[in-house]
């Protein structure tokens, strides 16, 4: 079982690094979708062999939302706003990847100093979860397009979800579904807001949303 969890974690690291280096919006959406779908399998792996039916159900819901519904919403927005397909970063792709690697090392060190009360299914989980959260935050602050900020938010949420799904004992299903619903509505509302930004400004570059100061 541990091997599978390890593999998922390594996959997460690779998708994060890929996100930092990819220049096309469509590819980014696809990578985030893939990341989300694979993450949906995590609760099955980390439960340690004993899998109940509601876990299957929940896993399916997560894969459905993160792997299909969110990307569909985002791609629809992308089509509506006819955004330029380039990401336009504030920080270049090469530098982003280098920074990302450095942050990963930092996360490794950080998690070595945070002893868990209970052995996690994979020793990589804590550093990778932190790294995913950091990658998400980095995408939010270092990219121009509103759409990449939403993607960053999703990646960050994926990181937090990794943490929750792998280490934390099962939360009540109601809460898990509530969290998922909130994220869904957030992406939905942000999509609408993006549509309006496009209509108002003819672009979705957030660096030009800077009229309101002090």
């Amino acid at each position: 079982m541990n091997n599978i969890a390890d593999t998922i974690m390594i996959f997460l690291v690779l998708t994060n690094l890929a996100l930092l280096g990819v220049s096309r919006l469509g590819t980014c959406i696809r990578i985030v979708a893939l990341q989300g779908a694979v993450l949906g399998l995590l609760p099955l792996v980390s439960s340690g062999g004993h899998v109940e039916w509601h876990l299957y159900f929940f896993s399916a819901v997560v894969v459905g939302f993160k792997g299909m519904v969110f990307p569909w919403l985002l791609r629809r927005t992308l089509k509506e706003v006819k955004a330029q397909r380039e990401i336009e970063p504030f920080i270049g792709y090469g530098t982003s990847i280098a920074l990302g690697t450095a942050v990963f090392v930092l996360c490794m060190w950080l998690s070595s100093r945070l002893p868990l009360p209970k052995e996690p299914p994979s020793m990589l989980i804590v550093p990778v979860a932190f790294f995913t959260i950091m990658s998400g935050l980095f995408l939010i602050i270092s990219r121009k397009k509103a759409l990449t900020q939403v993607l960053g938010y999703l990646v960050m949420e994926n990181g937090i979800y990794t943490f929750g799904a792998a280490i934390v004992e099962r939360q009540p299903v109601l809460v898990e579904l509530g969290i998922l619903l909130d994220v869904f509505v957030a992406v939905f509302v942000m999509g609408i807001a993006m549509f309006h930004i496009h209509r108002e400004f003819d672009h979705i570059d957030t660096d030009q949303l800077s009229r309101l100061r002090t």
Partner: protein, 491 residues
């Protein structure tokens, strides 16, 4: 009873989406808020039964914040009735730049207002920290469309910042939630549920380092929503660009709900013996917010932004009060009540001024007292209330906090606190009196009908309540505030 509190606004929200007639929809809005108020009053008289295995329960802190929310919403819904009637559906001219814009459909506005009330109610009655998180994020999502009621690019920018900054902030609070679960996962913990009371009962066996980390994330996450500096960056934009009814609710009710989230987590830390750790952090963030607000309040060219920064100041005072502890905790709770009433009143009055003068620039507004006497008097009274002059309630709560600081020998904090308040007093008085006194600028046309009853009565009612709380605190409220302060580790 708890179901009724949640279902009344939720049903009304759905109804207002279905109803075609504007007038009927506005009546639904007011009726729902009256119904909500009714059940809140009933909750004062009779302890509401916990439902859903204790997930939803109205404890003392919840009741306090629910009452504030309910009162404000009632005042705001009455005000909204008049406000919406004055908003024509056709294109309108932008006050600031002269460009044209249209409003969002009224059905969506009403439905979101009611959904906002539902989610805030859910925040106050949630005992499960996971559910609390879900409700808190839902308040963000329900209120974002409200900020974008006037469809122009400034409100759009404000909405985007609000959505993104608050969502990211609240996501961090979710991480805090998970940390808390880890803190509670040691074998000594028998009951692993995330109910506040269960966690408090087992406080002594929680894992302290993880609990500390959890509190940090809660503070940063919910602190973003509450508007504690330096996490407040969305707040001035959102509060100044949204319609005044929404500003009043955001400032008076929503900030308090976020504060409740922080209080709940600090309750758990307190039970685990981490009280001093939490208190220091709260004092730090409180002082930072006060200082930050004082700087930006000076020479603030936009009067709605000025009110927004004043909110940053007051949430700072609340955090500071709870951080100082002992008697100041009671002061902080009283302050939360007073600030909500006063700030909502001021935002509604600011809405009246905006409707007549059609500008948010402080410089261009003068002579309110002659143009619209009742609004002018309310504006000046609101100023005296918000800077904490006697006999208004804010004086009493700020005085309680300072008194407790001195009693505990925290003279340094008290001196810093008072000097910042003095600075803010000067900064705000310049703007307020410039606007109230003098004569109207001749080139500025007067729009609409100043001082209509429906626009003046709701803020006046809120103002009278603040005044009353400065002179006399009803025994029932006094008991409730003491009980809440006790739960937060003060007295």
């Amino acid at each position: 009873m708890l179901y009724a509190l949640l279902l009344i606004p939720a049903t009304a929200a759905i109804l207002s989406l279905l109803v075609r007639n504007d007038l009927v929809r506005r009546v639904i809005l007011v009726a729902a808020s009256i119904g909500h108020m009714g059940f809140t009053v009933a909750a004062w008289n009779r302890q509401a039964k916990p439902v859903m295995n204790g997930w939803l329960m109205l404890d003392k802190p919840g009741l306090l914040f629910l009452t504030i929310t309910s009162i404000l919403f009632l005042a705001c819904s009455v005000y909204a009735y008049g406000y919406l009637a004055g908003q024509s559906a056709s294109k309108r001219q932008d006050e600031e730049e002269g460009t044209f814009f249209s409003n969002a459909p009224e059905a969506i506005f009403c439905a979101c207002l009611l959904a906002f009330l539902t989610t805030m109610t859910l925040v106050t009655v949630s005992q499960h920290l996971g559910l609390l998180w879900v409700a808190m994020e839902a308040t963000t999502l329900a209120s974002a469309p409200l900020i974008y009621f006037h469809r122009h690019h400034r409100s759009l920018e404000a909405t985007w910042k609000y959505l993104l900054i608050c969502s990211v902030g609240i996501a961090l609070a979710l991480l805090g939630n998970f940390f808390l679960v880890i803190a509670a996962s040691s074998p000594d913990v028998t009951d692993k549920s995330m109910l506040v009371n269960t966690l408090i009962r087992q406080g002594s066996v929680l894992n302290a380092p993880w609990l500390k980390a959890a509190f940090l994330f809660f503070l940063v996450g919910y602190g973003t929503k509450m508007g504690l500096a330096p996490l407040h960056t969305w707040l001035p934009d959102a509060h100044s660009e949204s319609p005044s009814v929404v500003s009043a609710l955001l400032s008076g009710a929503l900030l308090n709900c976020a504060f409740l989230g922080i209080l709940r987590s600090s309750q758990v830390c307190l039970a685990a013996g981490l009280g001093p750790f939490c208190r220091e952090l709260l004092v730090l963030f409180g002082m930072l917010s006060l200082g930050w607000a004082a700087i930006f309040l000076f020479k603030q060219p936009d009067y709605k932004r000025m009110l927004a920064y004043s909110s940053v100041e007051h949430v700072g005072i609340m955090a500071l009060g709870v951080g100082v502890g002992a008697g100041a905790t009671f002061g902080a709770m009283l302050h939360a009540v007073n600030h909500s009433l006063t700030k909502a009143m001021l935002f509604l009055v600011a809405g009246n001024i905006l409707a007549v003068y059609k500008t948010k620039t402080t410089e261009r507004v003068s002579g309110i007292l002659t143009v619209m006497p009742v609004t002018g008097i309310l504006w000046v009274a609101g100023f005296f209330a918000i800077v904490g002059m006697p006999p208004f309630g804010l004086f009493l709560s700020e005085f309680t906090i300072v008194k407790s600081m001195l009693e505990q020998g925290k003279v340094g904090i008290a001196v810093a606190f008072l000097s910042i308040l003095a600075l803010i007093f000067i900064g705000m008085s310049i703007a307020f009196f410039h606007m109230a006194q003098g004569r109207k600028k001749d080139d500025l046309p007067i729009h609409g009908n100043p001082d209509t009853a429906i626009a003046v009565l709701p803020p006046m009612a809120l103002g009278i309540l603040t005044l009353m709380l400065g002179l006399y605190i009803p025994p029932a409220l006094d008991r409730l505030l003491h009980a809440v302060a006790l739960a937060m580790g003060g007295n």
